[in-house]
């Protein structure tokens, strides 16, 4: 009774498929191809490469958090182990050990993938039996264990100074010597594209869908004939693999790996990236990775308290925008397309102003405090103003900005409630 045309009625049309699935990847490819034509600087390349690595890493994290419902505090373990394996493989290529002599450095991310997936298979076995809060605690404990073990096995981890390699060895692929940074760009761009495509494709597989089902309702998954623990375990292995892929990219890009790469700090950072970007959207972690990498490299030049700003940003997102940047962006698009776009834009603009005012207040407070605390007599001087902690203007500006910002936000909230 169901002929083709009826069941296909439910599937997205060809046009929808193109705009929602194919087009974004074409645009991504176009951007990646166009970037080198703008003649970017060395600094740009450095940051862009870091972004590419973090995009893959954050997406791999979201495979378990956003799509799988598993909150991990130790995802850098798989990034690090994959990366370490890749650095070792780089050494084997250099020394032409066995068949390694015939493998191009270009393919090292595959080695990273295998390393990360193996680590995921080994560590995931005991830890994915649990979900929720227990899993979160376990991931933290396991990460500490691996990190501590890294300092005991110097032959693999190389102690504090880590292990380094040289990417300009072995067979050249696509005529890339991998020496100059502009050539490494193609390597990063290629693997970032592959990583994004691969992880997006994963969400379209039966296992990918089951992962979402297990996140929503592990009990029910049992009664459609699947073992939720096995689903979690398999997804975990893939997430480890893609994290390892990012590790492999980092191995070639930096030619060095230290035990710090698998510590709690990058694990925490990738969590923040994914969450700030928006874990309910596939693209969310991409936004988050780009923003955080930018903050990390740029903001840390301007202020030593950038981690404090990061913490504030994260808490603000958790409290007020749990769907992250992607949620804000898509919400905004829906809002201006909506029927009451005028009011929406007005509220949005007022809110933005309120947030900016609060931000100014926060920046003044933090920057003045940091300099005061350091005690070197450094003084915060934005726009030629002389804001020392003894200057009444400092505290006046801080108070005015904060109070005005908070008042404005409360006003918008009231307005929204009144119209809703």
């Amino acid at each position: 009774m169901s002929d083709q045309s009826t069941y296909q009625r439910l599937a997205p049309s060809r046009g929808q498929k193109f705009t929602q699935r194919t087009l974004p990847f074409i645009i991504l490819a176009a951007i990646l191809l166009a970037i080198p034509m703008t003649g970017p600087s060395r600094t740009f390349y450095t940051i862009a490469h870091q972004m590419g690595i973090n995009v893959v890493f954050a997406l791999s994290y979201n495979m378990i958090l956003g799509k799988g419902g598993l909150l991990s505090f130790g995802h850098a373990v798989y990034f690090g182990l994959g990366g370490y394996l890749a650095v070792h493989a780089m050494g084997w290529i250099e020394d032409e050990v066995g068949i390694w002599g015939s493998i191009p450095v270009f393919f090292l991310p595959v080695v990273g993938f295998v390393g990360g997936a193996l680590a995921g298979a080994l560590i995931g076995w005991p830890s994915t039996r649990k979900a929720g809060t227990t899993f979160a605690m376990i991931s933290l404990g396991v990460a500490e264990l691996i990190f501590a073990a890294a300092f005991m096995f110097d032959s693999f981890f190389g102690g504090e100074q880590g292990i380094s390699g040289d990417r300009m060895n072995g067979i050249e692929l696509f005529g890339l010597s991998m020496g100059p940074i502009a050539e490494v760009y193609w390597f990063i761009a290629f693997w970032m594209f592959v990583g994004i495509l691969g992880m997006w494709a994963f969400t379209r597989t039966p296992l990918g869908k089951l992962s979402e089902a297990t996140r929503d309702n592990a009990q029910r998954v049992q009664f459609i004939g699947y073992n939720p623990q096995r689903v979690r375990y398999m997804v975990f292995i893939f997430a480890g693999g893609f994290a390892g892929l990012a590790g492999g990219m980092a191995a070639v890009n930096y030619e060095i790996f230290t035990p710090d790469a698998l510590s709690l700090i990058p694990s925490g950072l990738v969590l923040i990236m994914a969450y700030v970007g928006g874990i309910t959207y596939f693209v969310g972690p991409i936004f988050g990775a780009i923003l955080l990498t930018y903050m990390q490299s740029m903001l840390s030049d301007f202020t030593e308290a950038w981690l404090l700003y990061l913490g504030v940003l994260f808490i603000a997102i958790v409290m007020y925008a749990p769907r992250g940047i992607a949620g804000i962006v898509f919400g905004f698009i829906d809002g201006i397309r909506g029927s009451e776009s005028g009011i929406y834009i007005k509220h949005w603009a007022l809110n933005l102003l309120g947030i900016l005012l609060m931000l100014i207040g926060l920046i003044i407070l933090v920057e003045v405090s940091v300099r005061w605390s350091n005690g070197y007599g450094d003084i915060y001087e934005p726009f030629g103003m002389h804001l020392s902690h003894t200057n009444p203007l400092t505290w006046f500006l801080f108070l005015v900005a904060s109070v005005a910002g908070i008042a404005l936000s409360l006003f918008v909230k009231k307005q929204k409630e009144a119209t809703a």
């Binding site: 069941y7 599937a11 039966p206 459609i224």
Partner: protein, 255 residues
């Protein structure tokens, strides 16, 4: 002796000192529509949890088509052809209605834990998903997130997921609870068509639904089955009347 679709013998379950299910024996024929009724707290849901593998019996056996399934994990029992619904809607809230049903279809269509194929390119899966959605009247709601469905549609989706895998023994736990009259009628119709040719075991409070649907009825009181018979005989049963006295009267008006 012939193999029953489902056969419980000497089934016991206790939580600590509390004996919830007490020596339950029940044989259900293939294709039978069997209802389980009883006052609140009689252990009906516990019985379902024992059959479907959520709980392990303290003692006794559960046989599905003659095969012992007590102590077997729920997903294996489901793969063997026994499916159940829940009293409280137990769906995949953040996925669309279509995805919900599609997940229910996957295992029966031999998709396993596949990670190498596109879920959208398998024609059989799509067709079956559509068929189930159509049968449960959910085609129009297919692209909606399950969490946004009205209550009655969530119940329909609950049944849709339950029958999606094509199990031949279906357990429905209060499928019409909380529904209005018209919604209940629709649900009964849906249950009737959806379980055509299957063995159905249903827990229900709505006596109208029970006497409408069931071939046989078992009455569970304080964890014990006090009677198993046809609807006509159950209505005349003195013990059943006693058990129900002061709780809820058996409807006389139902034919």
């Amino acid at each position: 002796m012939s193999t029953y679709a489902l056969s419980l013998s000497g089934l016991n379950k206790s939580f600590g000192p509390a004996q919830i299910i007490n020596d339950v024996n029940l044989d259900i024929e293939k294709g039978e529509r069997h209802a389980i009724i009883g006052p609140n707290g009689a252990g009906k849901s516990t019985l379902f949890n024992l059959i479907s593998g959520l709980y392990t019996p303290t003692s006794g056996s559960v046989k599905l088509h003659g095969e012992e399934i007590s102590g077997v994990p729920p997903h294996i029992i489901n793969q063997k052809g026994l499916s159940r619904s829940f009293q409280v809607s137990n769906i995949f809230t953040n996925m669309t209605v279509r995805e919900n049903v599609r997940c229910g279809v996957l295992n029966a269509m031999g998709q396993g834990y596949a990670w190498w194929r596109n879920i959208g390119s398998n024609k059989a899966v799509q067709e079956r998903t559509f068929e189930i959605l159509e049968r449960c009247g959910l085609v129009d709601k297919a692209p909606l997130p399950a969490s946004l469905l009205p209550y009655a549609d969530q119940r329909a989706l609950e049944i849709a997921i339950t029958i999606a895998g094509g199990a031949d023994v279906v357990l429905l736990d209060e499928p019409t609870a909380g529904m209005s009259h018209s919604e209940t009628d629709r649900a009964v119709q849906l249950i009737r068509t959806a379980t055509e040719g299957k063995t159905l075991i249903i827990v229900e409070h709505d006596m109208g639904v029970i006497f409408d649907l069931a071939d046989r009825i078992s009455v569970l009181v304080y964890g014990e089955i006090i009677a198993t018979d046809t609807p006509q005989n159950i209505r005349g049963n003195e013990k059943v009347r006693e058990a129900y006295l002061g709780d809820e009267a058996l409807p006389e008006e139902v034919v």
